[in-house]
């Protein structure tokens, strides 16, 4: 018996107001394993070429993998045509984002492997999925409400144990970097998924499930539960650090090693003030407890409450990305201000990574006189001005005045503003740089996370070659990357075998092959949609022209990325991934990876090399 999958996908058409259960193609499941791969295949099959992000034809998918709800699998992967990710010619590319929490597991318990949503509702709606049935309901009473209000209101209305994914006012107003939130502070934040949901007038997806997840070998999984738990709790220092401070520990260490963001990525090292938003500040001022995603024995979200000043009483779970991009990147020195902003962005449904980048870009424009006080609606937008940042975020959420420009993301905003502002617009393929795991200013190895990413400047694409493979597998199995790295390939292979009954992988080579297939499939899809790797796999000007002047890297060769070295690195990368010198997968690679079905369509778009 094939387990691990529930074998059903929920297809929702909001234009026709219909829901339909489609069987999962088990051949595809075996070939692409889980969430990330399966969704790419579905996008290839179902989405029309050249669909724009806000068109009703856009499909937004929420998927789980074969280990979701079992062991420690809990993530939900979201895919769509992104309003933010784009080629330099302005064609929308793939949007990819993921969230932890309880939603993914609940969807499996409700009897579905995934949900695909297309069309556009006339009036605001939300989707209620319960035990194999689904219903589209009116969300008139939810529209316009913040993420926090929606979550509580739906839980009161439906069932206290319902799990909700929802968008905030930012998504409703089609802010291009709005996110999809869950349980207040968990969010599928990157690439503008919230705006896609907003364009479909879909406010929320509530899920409740009480049915079993079928598995192939329950005894095998029972034995693995203990093993996996032991391995994840195994490395003492790592676990302790994660449970006590969470991801924010990287805040200080990244600055110390000169790889963090500072002043819109102008510098990477902040001598004194970096401690003002770090984990120890949070712990001593605000932290009360930690929260974890479903089935995770090392909960890393640090929940806390601001106890003093104008924002007293505000809850927040800061993480490395939100604090680093709001605190050093906008040069905020008031810790409570950072936490209050982070919480406010969550309640409005904005991605704090992209928002932090956008605000810091606007601050630099103001400093350089590219945007004047009149342009900014009279806001004194100096570095670290927290009340001004609040005011600006309110405008962005409602798209008022200057907020309408900034809501487009820095790629479009810098094109409209001009005057050289695009040289310090820190984005790749339209998506503002994240920091977690890879966010390094001029680090020549790790900036490749952003260069090669098919989802734009997303830190969750993986920093190194092996790292990208890890992330692809983690997203496929819907296991958190930190947990995946604590497990060895044999354990994962055994877990998949016990769950599905199929031998997916036994060695690292098998796993890499799976990852390679998914990554090349994504690239092929993006090329079909208009990506020109040669031109679009690029970095912002700042990386090549403005050397770091502070910290340990100042004055060394690592202070600047040499343009010649960049193109050499790119060629090495293309070669390792089986692409030609223009970054396009060769026919041999596609055939070897069992992706021959893409060749006829790709040949329409580009010249494919034989090998």
């Amino acid at each position: 018996m094939v387990g691990g999958y529930t074998g059903k996908i929920l297809d929702v058409d909001l234009t026709g107001n219909t829901v339909q259960k489609t069987p999962l193609d088990m051949g595809d499941a075996k070939r692409f394993l889980g969430a990330r791969g399966l969704m790419t295949k579905l996008l290839w099959n179902r989405m029309k070429r050249g669909t724009m992000a806000f068109s009703p034809d856009n499909i937004i998918m929420f998927f789980t993998g074969p280990l979701t709800g079992l062991l420690n699998g809990n993530r939900t992967i979201v895919r769509f045509k992104s309003p933010l990710t784009a080629t330099s010619a302005g064609l929308n590319l793939m949007g990819h984002t993921s969230t932890g929490g309880n939603w993914g597991a609940e969807l499996k318990y409700a009897g579905f492997d995934g949900i695909t949503i297309t069309g556009k509702a006339e009036e605001p709606v939300y989707l209620y999925v319960k035990d194999g049935e689904a219903e589209i309901r009116s969300a008139a009473h939810l529209w316009g409400r913040s993420v926090f209000e929606t979550e509580v209101k739906l839980k009161k209305e439906l069932d206290p144990f319902v799990r909700v994914l929802q968008i905030g006012p930012a998504g409703e107003h089609l802010v291009r970097y709005s996110c999809i939130n869950q349980e207040y502070f968990y969010s599928a934040s990157r690439c503008g998924g919230g705006a896609v949901m907003g364009s479909k007038k879909l406010k929320a997806i509530a899920v409740r499930g009480t049915s079993d997840i079928p598995v192939s070998d329950i005894e095998g999984l029972l034995a693995l539960e203990g093993t996996v738990y032991g391995k994840l709790r195994g490395s003492a220092a790592e676990v302790y650090s994660r449970r006590r401070w969470g991801s924010t520990t990287a805040n200080i260490s990244s600055s110390d090693s000169s790889t963090g963001p500072l002043k819109n990525w102008r510098e990477a090292y902040w001598a004194d003030d970096i401690e003002k938003g770090g984990p120890l500040q949070w712990e001593s001022r605000c932290r009360v407890k930690n929260r974890g995603c479903f089935g995770c024995p090392t909960p890393c979200n640090q929940l806390g409450i601001i106890r003093e000043g104008p924002w007293a009483g505000t809850f927040d779970i800061p993480d490395y990305d939100s604090t680093d991009l709001l605190h050093p990147n906008c040069m905020v020195t008031d810790p409570n201000g950072v936490y209050a902003l982070s919480s406010f962005l969550d309640s409005m449904g904005l991605d704090s990574i992209s928002t932090g980048n956008t605000l810091s870009w606007a601050m630099e424009c103001y400093e350089k006189g590219i945007l004047t006080k009149d342009d900014l609606d009279g806001i004194e937008f100096t570095w670290g001005n927290v009340p001004a940042m609040f005011e600006m975020v309110r405008r962005i959420v409602r798209r008022e005045g200057i907020g309408d420009l900034l809501a487009e993301g820095i790629r479009i905003a810098s094109q409209k503003v001009g005057k050289g502002s695009d040289e310090f617009a820190m984005h790749c393929k339209g998506v503002e740089w994240g920091v977690g795991g890879a966010g390094n200013n001029r680090d020549q190895r790790e900036t490749f996370c952003y260069v090669m990413s098919d989802h734009g400047g997303v830190h969750l694409y993986g920093p190194t070659f092996d790292g990208q493979n890890d992330f692809a597998v983690a997203d496929n199995l819907t296991i958190c990357i930190r947990n995946l790295r604590a497990l060895d390939v044999e354990t994962l292979g055994l877990a998949l075998k016990a769950a599905t009954g199929w031998d997916f992988f036994a060695t690292r080579e098998d796993m890499d092959r799976f990852a390679h297939r998914i990554l090349i499939m994504e690239r092929a899809w993006n090329i079909r949609e208009g990506l020109v790797p040669d031109r679009d796999d690029n970095l912002p000007e700042r990386v090549f022209t403005e050397p770091l002047t502070l910290g340990p890297k100042a004055g060394t060769a690592e202070a600047l990325y040499d343009r010649k070295k960049f193109s050499e690195d790119k060629q090495t990368w293309y070669k390792a991934r089986g692409c030609d010198t223009h970054g396009i997968p060769t026919k041999k690679t596609l055939t070897d990876l069992d992706l021959a079905f893409t060749i006829p369509i790709l040949e329409d778009v580009v010249d494919l090399q034989e090998s």
């Binding site: 001022r285 407890k289 003093e308």
Partner: protein, 206 residues
Amino acid sequence: MDYPAPKVLTSCDLISCRFPKRRTERISMKNPMQIFVDRALPGCSGCRICEKVCALQHEKKYNPAYSRVKVYQFYPGPIDVPIVCQYCGDRPCVSACPTGALTYDNATFQMRVDEATCTSCQACNQACIDNQRGGCITFHPTKGIAQICDLCGGEPQCATFCPSDTLHFLPISRFSKRLAEPAKLIASRIADQFYPVQKEVERRGP
């Protein structure tokens, strides 16, 4: 309320501290035992591993609906509160059962549900709620039969696996008063600890 700004530590080296290992010694059921839910911070992380392993232990299936322990979420926060049978001395659930399906076994110190006579009327859970307790009895998602914590026969999986040191397996004699309380009340007690304010401790119970 204004607190003086705390002194800031500067180094990240603290993270190399050793994580204390959990004791997992088995205590056989020679005494009446219970699952003790720790309400001190940081407390429950809401990971629901307890629900997962409880269902696996009792039904060998991946489905938290079979779980005898239920993690509630309260907002704002979220604050997570696990609710599980506290083995109260007076047992209003047993006296409320119209068919006698729910019993307490004095020899093994365990609650028992007789599947043949349980009529899924849910009176036991209602009695639990009506007596200002947690409402800790869950119901089988398809059969509707009452499910109550039986302490896994003396080796409770939830306490063994709890990663947050929230669920513990302890003798009832440690506590002079019953510990069962509504989830909402527990949540508000946890929330009280969010601000470091000394609160008067009130005595409860008979």
